[in-house]
Subunit: 284 residues, 4 copies
């Protein structure tokens, strides 16, 4: 869109279409190849932590890890080279994720035992979101995201009230059960309360006294009934979002709205309707 | 419907009505007898794995297993014999399930210790779906299926996002807790994260460090709140499906739509309405 | 309503008003006294199973148990005496529950160690439902019951499909994990699968092999996502029931319907509306 | 509003604006400072129960605890001094909470080992609700609260029915499993049933016999399906509340109602709409 785009080399322009675009077949193949590389490289990181694999195939895994690192380094260099605004790209969310998927391998070379780089290498997975664009799944994700945004205030109030209840119950259980039964401190007691109120129930810490078991039963019933609240909030919002989504499906000929999500033709004039995603992507 | 049906023997035609049909009393009795055989034969497979039963009644169970195998073999032969298109039947979903319910017993005769045939023998249960047709429960199942199909894209996006969160949390927990506390590899850590985020909480692997317990509590709260999302998606879709189902209930006389699901007479002209399942089965 | 009611003694008629009715103050006091007796007698049964209470207060508990038995026997006799149709009462649901709350104590006298009578004695609790009538909570219960009846077919299809999945998964886990890891038989494996798919997760049986843990994780995700289905079904039905309930709130003057559940006056003509429960109880 | 307000000192009036009000910048800073103090003082109580912190920083924690106690005492004194009606304030809900957040520290001075004062000190957290007023989150909380009030009768009926089922199942499990398998009394069996029916599943008490495991599986399936009921009730109510909330958004110019929750301008005449919270806070 700016002037210096006009003067750039055709190679750079073509590379940009392939690497950043998803409309040409070449761009699509590039995205799919990239997604496969990401998934394989993360699978390698996972397998390398398994004792047996590390012993047997440790050498191969390390080589493959370097192959992927070089691929991602090349890709990052190409993106920097052919981006319209390299600095803007490097500072963008995806630019940072792209850099983070390359750096840890070099760091691991310098600091051998640094397994905290593991976690950063796994952040590569977020690059898949970029590839998802070509799958046209985003409009569905938008409905979910908007529903969550709409209900975020109610959910905040909910979690705030729940955390107050959790803290009071934790203090009560610490006093009732005491360190002898595993409730060694209030923070540990908070851990137990969350394990109980979310109905996870590991059983690593359990009440032993009668009173403690009664309070635990009460905590469970609270958890059981308040699980309904976020569900209710979100369901109400998603219902509204789906309804609004449907209203967006208007006929280009007679402008009738409110068609079914899977309708292909206008129910009044019989004209073909736009595909489901179109109206949403236009305003997104 | 094709010409060779006309020339076939009346016995074959009558057998087909009984074996494949559900409209005549004989066809219904055949289906019920078949269902009883399936349930009994699967119950036998289950009981045979219980130590006590195997020791005491092993002989009887083996005999009965052969009786059912012969019954199902005969039934499969009869179906092949009287099907309008034997090859089409043999290749259809139910044709393969019917064959699979017979073969494993013969295989078990040749390879004595092959208890993987167990699982295939249990697939017999899917034959019950065929029998369910006569119970007129399918229209209800259709409402559920359609609701699930409609929401499958949103659910896919949901599970994709959840699996990203699961992998990142697994890597974090592997680094924080380490092999000493049971998180021996990232795949094992993924297992723990799924156990936690789905609120199952076996307790076979639990965090021991303070930081690990804090992250675990955070994981539980995520699981607790995102359980609301698929519920919200599906509820919105089922509500719409039920509404659409109601719209299908139109009066044959005055064509008024939108009657209650349990209404017997048209609320405007008083004519008797079709039964609930009729309009759906017509278009299914 | 029949002729012999006219000729019966006034005492009998008054007793019936007190024992069976809930409209007079005396009838209400009788019901509340009865509810207190039921709750106390069940609390006694519960406390008697606690080691400490049994040792310390066993004698007192046994005496009180007899006091309550005599009270309930007297009450049952009075009900039989003053019922309009004693035989019909004795055969009715509540008649049988009333008898069952008396008999076990006598049986326990004859067969000392029979602690199966415990369970029958606790069935007394169902008598509280009769007392609830006076609390006017039944119309709310009706909304729930009707919603559940409406959705029972969908829920049946759901549970039928789930039980098929459970059985196949159980057989797979039995083959994969085997008796060495606690999956000693398929029925036990079914128990494990239900513990997992309902997200209870005791942890008394857990998968040990890598493949088993992968299948377990898959089972949990199934359980996690299908928990949404019954919720969706029921929510859709309850929404409809609440809506229908609202439609029943019509103004006696101008016949406008659809008033809020907590509205006191007609929104069009300003006349006072009937209380919430009235229209429902009339047609129930 | 009463006459003696006019005659009071300007200092007192200004103090009241700062301490009780949330409209002036000074009042807002006071509230935020107070919230920070509350959170810090509760964090201190929590950390003090951790063995390591108590040993290392016990001295500092005790000093800081006294600093906060003096701050809260001063604040309570100021509130009493500048309240329009000191007696009404002292008797109000927040007045009592304010007093309770000060007293326990003095009590702990007199009775050294009294760790039941812990719980009371944590009740300080409820003072945060007062501060939340300035965050304008209350209208969202009102929607939730009203939805819960509306559905409280249905939820009561639900919990009453569930508790009957729990008691009967507990008695059955006590008889089936008996004290040898951990079901040492019916109250303990009730604890197990609640752990199971809420899908918490600690695993500290688990059925060992085949029949017990079958009943346990049945209990889980009940818990799994009835979890849908409160969700359904609440979702239906929240949907209605959100709808009603939307109806309240009327245009001041043309009086059109039913605008979207995030709409800024009237969809008919284009006038600016009031902010979301305004109409609710007016009638609350």
């Amino acid at each position: 869109m700016s002037e210096n785009i006009e003067s750039e080399s055709p190679l750079k322009r073509q590379l940009r279409t392939i690497i950043f675009g998803t409309d040409t077949p070449a761009g699509r193949y590039f995205d799919i190849a990239l997604m496969v590389c990401i998934v394989l490289s993360v699978a390698l990181v996972f397998l390398d932590t398994v004792e047996v694999f590390h012993r047997e195939y440790g050498q191969i895994i390390r080589v493959l890890e370097w192959v992927f690192t070089i691929i991602f380094t090349l890709e990052y260099g190409l993106r920097l080279y052919c981006a319209t605004h390299p600095v803007l790209y490097a500072r963008s969310f995806y630019g940072i994720v792209d850099l983070l998927s390359v750096l840890p391998s070099y760091l691991a070379l310098l600091i051998p035992g640094a397994n905290f780089t593991l976690v950063i290498r796994i952040l590569r997975l977020f690059r898949i979101f970029r590839v998802l664009k070509l799958l046209r799944y985003l409009s569905e994700g938008n409905v979910l995201l908007r529903a969550m945004m709409q209900s975020s205030r109610k959910v905040f109030i909910f979690f705030f009230s729940v955390s107050l209840i959790v803290m009071v119950l934790s203090a009560v259980m610490y006093v009732v059960e005491g360190p002898d039964n595993g409730f060694s401190s209030i923070p540990k007691s908070v851990y137990w309360t969350i394990v109980t109120i979310t109905t996870v129930g590991y059983g690593d810490i359990t009440p032993k006294t009668g009173l403690g078991q009664a309070i635990a039963a009460f905590t469970m019933l609270i958890g059981y009934s308040i699980i309904a609240i976020p569900t209710g909030i979100l369901t109400a919002e998603i219902s509204q979002e789906v309804g609004r989504h449907r209203d967006l499906r208007s006929c280009n000929q007679c402008h009738k709205t409110g068609h079914d999500l899977d309708a292909m033709y206008c129910s009044r004039c019989g004209c073909e309707l736009d595909s489901l995603d179109a109206p949403v992507e236009n305003d997104a």
